[in-house]
């Protein structure tokens, strides 16, 4: 195969799958069994530490409880109570709104940054350095990166000083900190890299010759973008979107710290119940959130078959 380099550079969709499963001459085990040995540890750990605990709180969500303890039962009261409380719906609506806004911003930023790094930076070393520059803040605790915004956005903060120094405003802006604005800024700060990574990975598989061909055939920059680049990077876009969406929906800390008590998040509501040892209602709450996230992710994965693109 002298063309191997070329073929491995093609986007996956164009690859002939037939050439990838070769016949082994001397294997004692059937190939699927080898695969089972290789994925065995992963399957075991995910089953014991993820599937079983999830099943456990599914069961507990039907339990009865009082101030002293929890009692095996099968009742739907926990769910009924949860779903008939207006606060639940409010928190879900506000989390969804945050998730949507943050998703739109991180998608815009993430796609353009990834595109810049992959197609406009010519030297490999430079690209690595720029990637690392994006990644370095992630070695600092997320909690510290969150509260770093407080002295920056506060009344006497660096940003207000700068604005007043430039004469943009005469008095410090108050809406910057402890507001929805602060929450969104912090989310974008924390999660944009989750979008850059998968999209950059998708983009790097696009053969530049393909884009050149489009240009030679008279396609405008925009056409090339919408007809070639975006369709070929949809796996990365979907993966990044899933990550950002679920991170925001599962947030525990940012809303609590940055909204100044004006908003709550689903998980911080839940953690209050856990701290009060009210496990059955907490479990019901958790189950509703799990189902909600599962539906969201299911829809996204329906739009783009991530599995087919990732695993050949």
């Amino acid at each position: 195969m002298s063309t191997t380099g070329l073929i491995s550079d093609l986007p996956i969709g164009l690859k002939k799958t037939g050439s990838i499963t070769p016949k082994r001459r001397s294997t004692r085990l059937p190939p699927w069994m080898v695969s089972w040995f290789q994925v065995g540890p992963l399957a075991l750990i995910l089953t014991v530490l993820f599937a079983l605990p999830t099943t456990l709180f599914l069961i507990v969500s039907f339990y009865d409880y009082d101030r002293v303890g929890i009692y095996p039962a099968f009742m739907l009261d926990n769910y009924r109570e949860l779903l008939t409380t207006p606060a639940t719906w409010r928190v879900y609506a506000s989390s969804l709104r945050f998730a949507f806004i943050v998703w739109a911003i991180t998608l815009f930023l993430g796609f353009n940054i990834a595109y810049f790094l992959i197609f406009h930076i010519r030297s490999g070393v430079m690209r690595t350095v720029l990637f690392l520059l994006c990644a370095i803040p992630f070695w600092t605790s997320g909690i510290i990166r969150t509260i770093a915004w407080i002295p920056f956005l506060g009344r006497n903060g660096a940003f207000n000083q700068m604005l007043m120094g430039l004469g943009v405003t005469s008095h410090p802006l108050d809406f910057l900190l402890f507001s929805d604005f602060a929450v969104i800024i912090t989310y974008v700060h924390l999660f944009t890299l989750l979008m850059v990574g998968p999209i950059a990975n998708s983009l790097s598989k696009i053969d530049p010759a393909l884009m050149e061909a489009a240009r030679d055939a008279g396609a405008s920059r925009w056409r090339t973008m919408t007809d070639i680049v975006i369709p070929l990077s949809k796996t990365g876009i979907t993966l990044g979107s899933i990550l950002v969406f679920t991170q925001v929906m599962g947030d525990y800390f940012v809303v609590r710290q940055m909204s100044g008590g004006q908003s709550a998040s689903i998980v911080s509501m839940l953690s209050t119940e856990i701290q009060a040892m009210q496990y059955p209602p907490a479990s019901a709450n958790a189950m509703v959130l799990v189902i909600f996230v599962a539906i969201l992710v299911g829809v996204m994965m329906k739009v783009v078959d991530v599995r087919k693109e990732l695993v050949k």
Binding site: I45, L46, L109, R145
Partner: protein
Amino acid sequence: MSERISDKRPWTFYALATLFGAYLLFLYGPMFVIYVLSFQGPNGGVTFPMVGTSVVWFQEVFQPGQMANIPVSFQRSLSLAAVVSVLTVVISVAAGLGFRRRFPGSGALFYLAVASLVMPSLLVGFGIGLGFQFLGWQPSLFTSALGAQLTWTLPFGLFAMFAVVNRFNRSWEEAATDLGASAWQRLRYVTIPILLPGIIGVAMGAFTLSYDEYARTTLTIGPKNTLPLEIYALISSATSPTLFAIGTLTTGVSFGAILVSLLLVLRMQRRRGRLDHDRLSVTQA
């Protein structure tokens, strides 16, 4: 390739470069503020203005205080992250290789990994904590906390391996087999060396995820806190520039680590390049 090779840049380059620059400013702006504030004078607070400069807050970090014991929790976090990173590499590299063929149950396992990745973090910890409580076990660093973190780093490692393995050409392995390599030799001398950059990436990624993990760990850690949990305790009790000093220190350490690894990679590349060159000249001779 004319436009990529020629020196004339399209306008989109400048637009995107500006956007990228703005993003970096956005990324580092608040970080820079905390770097400055970590040198706050002994009487200063967590916001501007600066009241003199000092390194008091750095000294505070290294002293086991009443509120939090940063040095010990830092060690705990490091050792947990190291264990998580090693386990993630071994398990997810193996699984990544296994997923190259279709096998019975591959779909189910794939979606199990996706579910584990997108599950709200606190809920994983909740489930495991609940399980330990039912079994009457005491949660601790290397049991429940390690397990809770693996449910996050393993799917991450698996997905990263998909990206790595996708670029791997199986004919290299076939060539090794044709030349008489055993399964072990093939893995040791062909597959792993080629996948090595990706594997290092997985290791670093898993280390970072574990080192910074809060929500999964908080309900599974037991009595001895990791660094993020200590930091969280510090925030809820009293805010002082100590937090910023921790931020400055960790960034400094990461910068150092990255510089060293970058230099190592460059040296490795240069050596490899020289080896190739030598080999070439031998064949030519």
